[in-house]
Symmetry: C2
Subunit: 406 residues, 2 copies
């Protein structure tokens, strides 16, 4: 008995008339399973949300990352409320901007300074510009398949782009030292930045942790050539390490970008950097209409505090391990071969030998019918609202779902 989405279908019909594509971006229904998975949210609390048609899901996407501490975390919301009571979009920053920069500098070992924006892409792009300003060079090296945002130099789309947008962007292969060395050799003297995610988390493909040899080579090549290493920690921070995800794998970044979970849903992005690049950073124009709003900064300060105090990365590693191991065991029980990759706090799970994702899509649809939301082609996100009880409840629902797949 498939879930029925009459209210969502009616709303999507209205949406298609007044919004190109109806629902756009990474959350387009076409990116999941049209008609089988929810399209509109109605309300959320803790680890669960309800869609427009009244189905409740235990949620393993956390808003694609932001909801590190679950919907409506009382301490984060109280901090945001305190700031909001004073006012939002001032002519100037407030002291919270300085406090948040100081908190990041204290937390991130290599960082001497920080700046703030609204989107991860605002600051991955700005970091590349800082690298160009600092080096006087043009080239940016990124891993094939890595997502770094929506700006033209890195957008995963093709529409509206022109050749100049990527004239100086070159791709190496993840964990392939030779491909990176070849780029350095071929572009000698014109490489400004290498940008990496802490581990490789492409959509529609397994996650790949970096090999120690690859990390060492990236660190070594950047240092040897005076190239800035930019860590795109937008998706991971602080799920892997409260000191920044470079600590989990040994990266030695010059600049790192944080976003998504930094404000537990309140809109904020940050770039932190080494003191060597503070002057160059001050020369690259950076601003936005709402960027001085202290409310997300208050939320981010509280998220940083809670993440360390409650050992959130360790909690999520255990929760993810419990969930992924339980899930794989259920696959075995029901004769569905599953493959898991990536760190347990951000696992990527798929059905084996399923290149078109059809079986994984059927699995996610079946799981949704039992009240668990999983994405068929994108890594999932654990949060602290995934208590043992929530995970065990989710696994028992998944058990029923897999049984129904036969």
């Amino acid at each position: 008995m498939p879930l029925s989405y009459p209210r969502s279908a009616a709303l999507f019909d209205r949406a298609r008339r007044v919004i190109p594509g109806g629902i756009y971006g990474h959350v387009t229904p076409a990116a999941t399973v049209p008609g089988a998975l929810p399209s509109y949210a109605e309300a959320g609390h803790g680890a669960r949300y309800r869609d427009l048609d009244g189905h409740e899901f235990i949620d393993f996407m956390c808003g694609y990352g932001p909801l590190l501490l679950g919907y409506h975390h009382p301490e984060v919301e109280a901090a945001a409320d305190t700031a909001r009571a004073r006012g939002t979009c001032f002519n100037h920053p407030t002291s919270l901007m300085v406090e948040l920069a100081e908190a990041l500098v204290a937390r991130i070992d290599f960082a001497d300074w920080a700046v703030f924006a609204k989107n991860g892409s605002d600051l991955t792009t700005w970091a590349v510009q800082v690298a160009r300003e600092a080096t006087g060079r043009r080239k940016v090296l990124k891993a094939r398949g890595a997502y770094h945002g929506t700006h033209a130099w890195c957008s995963p789309g093709h529409g509206g782009l022109i050749a100049e947008d990527r004239a100086h962007v070159h791709e190496f292969l993840w964990n392939d030292v030779a491909s990176l060395e070849a780029l350095f050799a071929g572009l000698a003297g014109d490489v400004a930045a290498v940008i990496v995610t802490p581990f490789h988390h492409p959509a529609y493909a397994d996650s790949v942790l970096p090999t120690p040899e690859f990390v060492a080579a990236v660190n070594r090549l950047c240092a040897a050539h005076g190239v800035l290493l930019v860590l795109d920690d937008v998706r991971c921070f602080p799920r892997l390490h409260v000191g920044g995800s470079h600590r989990a794998y040994g990266w030695r970044p010059d600049l790192a970008v944080y976003c998504k979970a930094l404000g537990n849903g309140h809109p904020i992005a940050a770039c932190a950097g080494r003191g060597d690049y503070q002057v160059a950073a001050s020369k690259v124009f950076l601003t936005g209409s709402y960027w001085n709003d202290p409310v997300p900064m208050a939320a981010a300060l509280k998220v940083l505090e809670i993440s360390a105090r409650d050992a959130v990365p360790e909690v999520l590693a255990r929760a993810g391990q419990r969930f992924v191991a339980g899930f794989l065991a259920l696959g075995q029980k029901h004769g569905i071969p599953l493959v898991a990759s990536g760190p347990p706090a951000m696992p990527y799970v798929r059905v084996a030998e399923d290149p078109g994702f059809q079986r994984m899509q059927e699995l996610c649809a079946a799981v949704a019918r039992e009240g668990v939301y999983l994405h068929p082609h994108h890594n999932w996100f654990l949060g602290t609202a995934h208590t043992d009880a929530e995970i065990d409840e989710a696994l028992s629902r998944i058990d029923r779902a897999l049984a129904s797949l036969g």
Copy 2:
């Protein structure tokens, strides 16, 4: 007796250590008068805010535009609270996204659809990409001195930019039909978009309304050459016309971008467009971590409702007229020749024959000492919190300030 800012100075010393430039972007103290005007906000209410050192100002910048209805507008905050109680950063949009798109389509005469983001620059840039996608052409024409955001193609800065960023951006002179015609002739067949602000509002220069001949020429040239006219209504909407600022001057846009005041400080930007370009728009990738958050959408719906219900543009035109006329009269009384330009709801006022802005900076410093915040090089913003009583109180403070300048 100049204002003293000991707490702000101490905080700025901390800030300079951990933030490049200490305070960056359009709100850097260097953009106003270092040491004479406030640098950090503490709290705001209605038309007034208090800085970190406890000085209270009647505020004529409104956060550089967003605070159309003043700080803490009760109806807007109630709408935001209702949405926030349900949850923020979901895996999907909510029905509020569709309702907001429908509200914009109903309000904006040429618009058949809308999309949403977080910064004005997100969508001026996306609109240019939609124009490129729709036309298969590359060139963008903009007015010299016009600000359209921080993306590399339009940033007012120079740091970190490379030649390719602006390879296909060409500038005409505002109100100069011949300069625009020359670009069209020289770039024949490769122009994708012309982007204009409703009126010309450069920083450090008088505002200039468009001549009817210029508007007619832009409309005609775009139509004749199949070029998309993009209206950057980020700064103006809805201060000049609740139906979009093109209505105030006769522009015929294909795409228009709104931001700043759209959510009365809640972070949201919108692009609305003609149906002819809906397919092209659906092909240009657009997304962000926090873009489905319903809270700013609830705020924007309420702002649109209030703007029409309360005839906000008319109210602000009257308030601006009262303020600017009163200000100019005070200049005459005290022998300080003042020049005003731009629409009264967003006036730009300066001292005559003051090319280095020294007298205007002294004037703003003197006015700040009496508790009124004015910017010496940027247009100001009226809001509905500027009641007659607030304006008259501001004028009486300015009277004292100008008397002190002698």
